[in-house]
Amino acid sequence: MPKFERWMALPGLLVLAGLAGAGYKLVYGEHALGTTAAVPWGSLIAGYVFFAAAATGVGLVGAAGHYSGRPALAALERPSLFLALSLLLAGFGLIGIELGNPLHMIYIVFSPNLHSGIWWMGLLYSIYMALLVVECYFSQTDPANKNLKFVSALAVVNKVAAVCNLGAIFALVATRPFWHGFYFPLYILLTAILSGAAALAAVMWLSARRRGREADGGVMAALGRIMLAAAAVTLLANAGKVFHGLASGDPALREATAALVNGPLALRFWVLEIGLGLLVPLALLVKPGGGERVFRAAVMVLIGVFFMRLDFVMAGQMVPQVVVAGVQHTLMHAYAPTWTEWALIGGAAGAATLLFAFSEARFDLGAGKTVARGQSLRADASA
């Protein structure tokens, strides 16, 4: 067991809050959530997408270590496996509590519907977790990495399929024009890489600081470059989505996009998603600099991507469907997460943090390549 350190109090408190939220949800069911029949998916779905996609992104960035031949990325190989597993378990915990009847998931095996995106999600993410467990095992028992490389190759295909299918769950819903189409599977793949690189950067930096060291400059610089590229493309993808949505002939798509850029979601969209999550990190990352700059950008990206997920889930449901032509009872459906939802999301973040800390203490993650504090990181980065 890892020794208790003072910093663990914060994730520990978050886990306690999450447990309180889970208890409240178990007792009060749907009444504990801000969701309604009109807005059936809320922040817990967004939170699950955030954790599952970040876990996939971490895995994809980590897998780049196998195939890119860059030593900076190779150092991420083991930490990425354990971080991905921690994030995925946190995501599974969140969705398990969100589901009305998680124990009925046994029917995913006994009564499968192959037409359902959620069925494929269950399969692909279960395989991902199993592969991660095997990869983690080999990372500790097979120093030559022969088996690990084979499993990793399988895992890369699985990761891309899993995260694109996660996007397709939304993209295949024809009744929600804001989600519908080819855009989201590709967008979630892109932003999974963005949030995965950010999660790795944050963890590598914090992990080194915890030991009174500086994170390896080469690793942080590599992660910074991945985040820079992914954030820039994400910004372009957002611009494309907004212009396409506002110019659309479909009123539902137009109104959902307007809700995002100039409506109830505008403050979150511009300030948290675009400003904090993309523009400020881009400004930080475009300049060459040390690990701390990359760490700051990573934290902002993670917050921004969480709100990106929330905004996406909300924008798809806020515009009322036209059931009877000419009848619209309300301009926009309202939804606000309850304390239970925030507690559960915070709890999942805390649990992922503590799980990774436990992995670091218990296993050899090969993250020992750090620099004594005060030593030049820039020199290390340019090496």
Binding site: L172, A174, V323
Partner: protein
């Protein structure tokens, strides 16, 4: 095999909501849960304005998006046309609620979506669903389209019909009488 469907003549609806109350009593639903609702639509421009009241419920679609997205086949379509929910198989993911283009699903206290069942189990005995039998103006006609002597088959031959959100490709089994204007 029966081929159940419903024909609704919205122009006859007075908006008394007896259909909703009868359904709630039939299935012992709490007041905030209802399987059918009334939509109020205005036609024309002042001073020539009319109101039409359109009853809306599960359309028991032939191509039901709710069944397509359900990961465990908890929502399924019976051979006689009824779209039903097996509560034991439902994981409570609410994907069906998101996918329904008619906004007719509600989540109960056990986290399971609920909706109109076309009174399965009741209609096999030859009874009418209470929403139809309780209506004082015979707004709803329920029956078997495969039986040429059923009331719905006879009425369908005499009127023009339309379906709600037919452009979604769901092929609803609830039809509406089309009126001029």
């Amino acid at each position: 095999m029966a081929h159940y469907a419903m024909l609704i003549d919205a122009a006859r609806c007075t908006g008394c909501a007896a259909c909703r109350v009868a359904c709630q009593l039939q299935w012992q639903l709490p007041p905030e849960v209802f399987f059918n609702r009334l939509e109020f639509r205005e036609h024309g421009q002042y001073p020539d304005v009319r109101q039409e009241i359109v009853p809306v419920q599960c359309m028991h679609c032939d191509n039901p998006p709710c069944a397509t997205v359900c990961p465990t086949k908890a929502t399924y379509k019976r051979a006689d046309g009824l779209v039903l929910i097996d509560h034991d198989k439902c994981i409570g993911c609410k994907y069906c609620v998101v996918a329904c283009p008619y906004d007719v699903r509600q989540v109960n206290d056990r986290g399971i979506p609920e909706k109109c069942r076309f009174c399965a189990g009741f209609i096999e005995k030859g009874e009418q669903p209470p929403c139809a039998s309780t209506c004082m103006n015979d707004v709803r006609v329920f029956g078997d389209l495969d039986d040429p002597n059923s009331a719905i088959s006879k009425k369908m031959k005499t009127v023009q019909v339309y379906q709600l959100a037919a452009e979604k490709g769901t092929k609803p089994r609830v039809f509406y009488v089309k009126r001029g204007g």
